[in-house]
Subunit: 120 residues, 2 copies
Amino acid sequence: MRISEASLKSGLSADTIRYYEKSGLMPAIDRGADGLRRFSPENVEWLTLLYWLRKTGMPMKEMCHFAELYQQGERTIRERKAVLIRHSERLKTRRQELEKCAEILDYKLSAYKVIEGKNT
Amino acid sequence: MRISEASLKSGLSADTIRYYEKSGLMPAIDRGADGLRRFSPENVEWLTLLYWLRKTGMPMKEMCHFAELYQQGERTIRERKAVLIRHSERLKTRRQELEKCAEILDYKLSAYKVIEGKNT
DNA sequence: GCTTGACTTGGAGTTGCTCCAGAAGAGTAG
DNA sequence: CTACTCTTCTGGAGCAACTCCAAGTCAAGC
């Protein structure tokens, strides 16, 4: 499939996909006779994973490292596992931050209610 | 208090605080006779709120708008409430994204386990 | 009186995109 | 065949939100 379809399926914009390729986050995408990129389903699965990792705060540097491991095949599975486990810990931290912020918002909103009560 | 203490208490770096002031996210901070910024506890509370809003993904533009409302006093409470409610909806969305990503990671990790099982 | 340390400003650098101009190729309409 | 539209390509500029740095000021301590 071509880039627009890959974009639609992965969630990444075409620009971002090209940018990721340039940055070494992809195992060089095949080109058709016309010179346009052709994405395999495996390519798209990879892009989708990148989409989620990035969206939840993994820095590009770490994704680059992860991409290198991926390119080196199955013998790097152990290390890749470690990267993902570290990331899922990051998710836990993020969730706690959201929780904390939600608390603060609730507090602020209730304080507003008190002020409004005074003024009416 | 001075900027280093305000930084410590709010969670924002001194650089970021100065940047926020320049960007209009703060009601102009007082200066002492020495020309250095002096932060009131109210200033710090405001910075702390900004810290959490930013950390959980509110764009600067929206924070600027919120800051303007704040500067206009109590008559903007209703609108400020709306901003915070919108943000708490954003938090909900973010939480779902984290959840979704956690699922993907679990799936990937279990897939790795299968591969490792085959190789040993 | 001299050094140390926190602070000041303005500006350059960084990350991770996002948008744009200009060109090339395929497909459709007249 | 010509004209037009669509998608894609590349290289490069622009942007958000910091982050870091150089050069200078000023008060406090030895």
